[in-house]
């Protein structure tokens, strides 16, 4: 019963964590792009920044979230395997696995895509690190949420 509740908590935490990392990553890449545009053109005012951020959430967000989904699908089970052996530090392993997973995904995509760098914000090291940080936070959130959910999910009755 305990195992089933734990598995359910992981499944329920997965999608919110993917969405959080997807939204954070989209917002970060917009700010990096606007920083670059602002460095060669007029200063970006708040309204323009907000409009561009919302536009990117609608148009870049789904693509990026799909990448995060695939990364988490592989990275989180790996993190759970390590935790099963070590029996602790689930927060750290989930965060690290999702961060490394996204970095590997960037390298993989850029190797096979026809353009040198698919996501413009990852052209620089600070941009890449901040994008990876969004995935790191998503991994942390997953670990936290799954623990919370486990606490509040109803226990299954004996024999049912």
């Amino acid at each position: 019963m305990r195992t089933r509740r734990r598995t359910l908590s992981y499944l329920l935490a997965f999608i919110p964590a993917v969405l959080l990392a997807g939204v954070l990553g989209s917002v970060i890449q917009t700010q990096f792009n606007l920083l670059a545009i602002g460095s060669i053109g007029p200063a970006i005012d708040f309204t323009t920044r907000l409009e561009t951020t919302i536009y990117d959430l609608r148009h870049f967000g789904p693509v990026y979230t799909a990448i995060i989904f695939l990364v988490y699908l592989i990275a989180l089970p790996v993190a759970h395997l390590v935790v099963r052996v070590q029996k602790r530090q689930i927060y750290a392993w989930c965060a690290v696995a999702t961060a490394i997973g996204l970095w590997v995904a960037f390298r993989f995509i850029d190797h096979f895509a026809p353009m040198p760098t698919l996501i413009a914000a990852t052209r620089t090291t600070p941009g890449t690190l901040l994008m990876i940080f969004s995935s790191f936070l998503g991994g942390l959130f997953y670990a936290w949420l799954s623990r919370i959910l486990r606490r509040y999910l109803p226990r299954t009755r004996k024999g049912t």
Binding site: Q29, A36, I40, H59, F60, P116, R123
Partner: protein, 377 residues
């Protein structure tokens, strides 16, 4: 190799004369029944450019690093590319454009552009070599774009001669370096103007600017792969690849800032906005745009007797669009007229017009690429 593609004609016969066609409506004047195709060269890996020598032989560049001399007499193909120690072939990199010296009869030089360097340090080079009739000798490097950048994308690489015996070379932004197209301190995203010997003309627009490279002619470009002088309008036209959307036709102006990446109608391949702006003071707006993209990869101005209805029109080959866009230009505007050669269903890298008879040559972009001659039916 002299394979003729006759389109199946049911109603029309080969007797269609131009005089009859000229009286047809505008749409019919660009009807595919008016022309026929002939493959004049095949099995050329990613052909990029063609020049027609005075004896009607062809020189055809292959992006994969070959320069084919095809004789008009027996169609024999010979690779005549001179030894280039730093030719870089990878992705979009390789051998690019070809052009004959404007006074080729007395100065038989062939100009060619190519990617030079290696994966981490490369850019566009311009060289010329003397044509002996069977080989290219005495290669001279005339220009190497600065800086040496990483990656194998966006080289520009097309060149055109101006009536004042100078040349303009297009240079790409290197893809990852797009913001530097707004800088005058390197060649990324610029066009440059040189004398035919590679010297810097004293009347270049930024010669007096100590912060600018003196060979720069215009800037704010993404990846210009089409350039042609329009003799009637006395204007240099360019075609430029946009990102996802925002392909452009522009009139090149000395000292002009064409806006990339501050202005574009396109978005990034991921769907993200590249810039929030469509218009900014001091930046030149496109004369004509394509959204969605057609990937314009060349430009020719039609001149000749073969298709007089297209006289002085712009011919823009499209890779993604798989056609040649026919556009009409005047002093103020550029208007689309028709999509030509769509029945080929092929990525078209370049279009060249025979300087004497007006036959059109299409370079089909493929690993087993070919050159197709278009003549009147």
């Amino acid at each position: 190799m002299n394979l003729t593609w006759q389109r199946p004609l049911l109603a029309l016969t080969a007797a269609i004369s131009f005089s009859a066609a000229a009286t047809h409506s505008d749409a019919e004047a660009h009807d595919s029944n008016l022309w026929q195709y002939e493959v004049v060269a095949a099995d050329i890996e990613f052909p990029w450019a063609i020049v027609i020598l005075p004896n009607d032989d062809y020189l055809i560049s292959s992006r994969s690093g070959a320069l084919w001399h095809i004789k008009s007499t027996d169609e024999q193909m010979t690779n005549v590319l001179p030894e280039l120690a730093n030719l870089w072939v990878d992705g979009q990199a390789g051998l690019f454009d070809l052009a004959l010296h404007p006074h080729f009869a007395s100065e038989p030089y062939v100009y060619f552009t190519y990617a030079c360097g290696d994966l981490r340090n490369n850019n566009t080079c311009l060289a010329r070599a003397r044509w002996t009739g069977s080989e290219l000798v005495d290669t001279e490097l005339l220009f190497q774009a600065y800086p040496e950048k990483r990656g194998s994308a966006h080289y520009g690489g097309r060149l055109a001669f101006l009536p004042d015996d100078t040349l303009v070379l297009t240079l790409g932004d290197g893809f990852d370096y797009r913001e530097r197209a707004q800088s005058l301190s390197d060649h990324l995203g610029t066009t440059i103007r040189l004398s035919l010997d590679g010297d810097i003309p004293t009347d270049n627009p930024f010669v007096a600017n100590s912060r600018a490279l003196p060979e720069i002619y215009s800037y704010g470009h993404r990846n210009v792969q089409g350039i042609a002088w329009h003799p009637q309008l006395q204007t240099l036209f360019i075609s430029e690849h946009g990102p996802r959307g925002g392909d452009e036709i522009n009139r090149l102006r000395a000292g002009g800032n064409f806006g990339w990446p501050l202005l574009t109608a396109g978005v990034d391949y991921t769907g993200a906005k590249i810039t929030p702006y469509r218009d900014l003071p001091g930046l030149i707006q496109a004369d004509f745009e394509w959204t969605p993209s057609i990937a314009p990869s060349g430009l020719a101005i039609y001149s000749g007797a073969e298709f007089p209805q297209w006289q002085d029109h712009l011919l823009v080959p499209a890779l993604a669009g798989k056609h040649v866009a026919l556009l009409r230009a005047d002093e103020d505007s550029v208007e689309p007229v028709a999509k030509l050669f769509t029945d080929l269903d092929a990525r078209i890298r370049a279009v060249q017009v025979h300087p004497h008879n007006g036959h059109i040559y299409l370079l089909i972009d493929a690993a087993d690429g070919k050159v197709i001659k278009v003549t009147r039916q």
